[in-house]
């Protein structure tokens, strides 16, 4: 049989394809049939948070930080409750990472503050002596791209039915609505409102001034995202 295949390239290629495609069919299809359902209390990202998430990806934060807490005592002691599948329902892409040069960030919003991040990203070693994390100084001068974040919200709402502007059940029985704007101008205004809440806890005067003038530096957006990780 093998000798015959080696003289018939088409059937050879077909056999190879069947051999390699088999595992994917068996492993991946069933998992997709059971769609990734959100855990109660999991909400989609707001415009500013999503913009921060894009900045997180732009700077490959996931190259050094995981967002996956494994079910071990040492990990739950350090980072909080182990990860549940439904918590990732709105993560496109997933950001589990594969290397922990720095600590896990899955629930960093539970134990770090806006003030801590503001100082830390500017000069990590001044907050955590011995840290080998680079300084992310450009986050303080670059402006966040709100329009692309809004475009992403629209895309996920239109193509994947992510529930913006609809009540989402919370753990305590109440419900919460995550707003998505109707126009680019409104999205910008909403993001600016969110940014104002963040900068109220920040010290850097130039950042405060920028937001007062209607601009959103990247640092504000990424802090909004960090704070949303719970």
């Amino acid at each position: 049989m093998f000798h015959w295949l080696e003289k018939h390239p088409f059937f050879f290629a077909l056999s190879v394809f069947v051999a390699i495609a088999f595992a994917g069919l068996v492993e991946i299809i069933p998992s997709f049939a059971q769609a990734s359902r959100p855990l109660v209390g999991t909400t989609p990202y707001s415009t500013l948070e999503l913009s921060g998430r894009q900045i997180y990806i732009k700077n490959s934060c996931n190259a050094c930080h995981s967002q996956l807490i494994r079910p071990f005592k040492s990990e739950t002691d350090r980072y909080g409750h182990y990860s549940l599948s439904g918590e990732y329902a709105y993560d496109r892409p997933f950001l589990w990472g594969s290397k922990r040069t720095g600590p896990d960030l899955m629930r960093v919003g539970n134990y770090r503050t806006t003030d801590w991040h503001e100082n830390h990203m500017k000069d990590p070693a001044s907050v955590v002596p011995g840290s080998i994390m680079p300084k992310y100084t450009w986050l303080y001068t670059n402006e966040a791209d709100i329009e692309t974040a809004y475009a992403e919200q629209l895309t996920v709402a239109q193509f994947f039915s992510v529930p913006y502007n609809t009540p989402i059940p919370m753990k305590d029985g109440s419900s919460k609505v995550i707003k998505m704007a109707d126009s680019i101008a409104e999205a910008n205004a909403d993001a600016l409102d969110e940014a104002k809440v963040i900068v109220a806890d920040m010290k850097d005067q130039s950042i405060k001034d920028a937001v007062a003038n209607g601009k959103i530096p990247e640092i504000v957006a990424i802090i909004a995202y960090m704070n949303s990780l719970k």
Partner: protein, 498 residues
Amino acid sequence: MNKNGPLEYDYSVSKLFIMNALFVGAIGMLVGVIIAWQMAYPGLNTFLGDGLAEYTNFSRLRPLHTDSVIYGFVLSAVWATWYYVGQRVLKVSMAESKTLMLIGKLHFWIYFVSASLIVTSLLLGWTTSKEYAEFEWPIDLAITVIWLLWGASIAGLVGFRREKSLYISIWYYIATFLAIAMLHLFNNMEIPTILATSPAGETMVGAWWHSVSMYAGTNDALVQWWFGHNAVAFVFTTPIIAMIYYFLPKESGQAIYSYKLSLLSFWGLMFVYLWAGGHHLLYSTVPDWMQTMGSVFSIVLILPSWGSAINMLLTMKGEWQQVASSPLIKFMVLGSTFYMFSTLEGPIQAIKSVNAIAHFTDWIVGHVHDGVLGWVGFIVIAAIYHMSPRIFRREIYSRSLMNTQFWIQTLGVVLYFTSMWIAGITQGMMWRAHDEFGNLAYSFIDTVTVLHPYYTIRAVGGTLYLIGFLMFIYNIYKTTSARRVEEDELQNASPMGA
């Protein structure tokens, strides 16, 4: 063409890919060395000044390193050998068909232009974040075109072949083509955000290259690591096996040890490899049965992997003195040994209890590098050393330089993986250590500062490997410039001066 004479093979496409492999290889490895030193000395994140910090810091450079060595260096080398080996074992010359030649040239140039776009886009931070699939949709489309052109080249050469039976190397090239095609398409399913329209009717113009993954959360992770694991298989394993199945017998003058073993290894690898992706997701939120499958199949994977490696080593049976006398055989034999080593280490790391310590640590980085530096790098270097005298019709410039390169790079690899083993296991154990009261024994930063000496040793190892690679480039460059052109194509083992 003389109909009765021997075939005149045309290596012009192969030559282009060799040049590119050398060029991008040096850049990719240099970036690797830079980020290795940055981990030991974080001040180097701003080595071009604060103004350019955004483009020189670790996190922007890391994807550039991985993608340029995988898709710039290794894929170029794979294609350089395809346009060399393909013609020779199928007994067709590229010069026989203008169409085939055009496909080959287009293949190279579209690839070359896309590679430049990739470098620029990664530096600018245009990334999907998915490891080894960071490219945004416009580049994904370009990659699809490049891949189809390679497919056309395979179909063309195979279609016109005079040798009816496909040699083992061709099996592996075909498998590489099919598997990467499948993985690339499914892992990069994404929707460009410019397709969105706001309720007010505005079209989005923000970042036009931006896209959203079709899969969310756990599903996305599953597809990504099915891709990530198997991209390794089909870029770092199958085409490299294709190379060694051709170049080792050619160089040593020995026939492949066992046809049956190559059959078993090939079909075994095809069937088993794709299951093992789950070992990247142990203890994650992926269903348990899939994690277990990932672990089990990783262990089974030792069989076909060692099958190939043993087949290679036994091909040298009775001719072991060549290892001492030929630097080229040294590269291939040590490469095969590193392949055995790496394909044993991987399955060990895939055992759940070992993975609990190894995952997220530098041990994984060490594992990747003993595979790529020791196996992939060495076989690619050997392949280019073997092809160059025949493509350029000149003897290799210096044999002693080859030997020196071999030992410097070997030392580099050994320093690299030993330091990363120690770093990884140290960190893994410190993360989980509890004191007598059941509290965590170390804060996270303790587990970082302790790694400094190992990061330094690793950076030295990487630097040595890069130095060896630069010697390699110099040797090939001098071969093409300082050696005289031979009248006939050089035959037999690689001829070399002192």
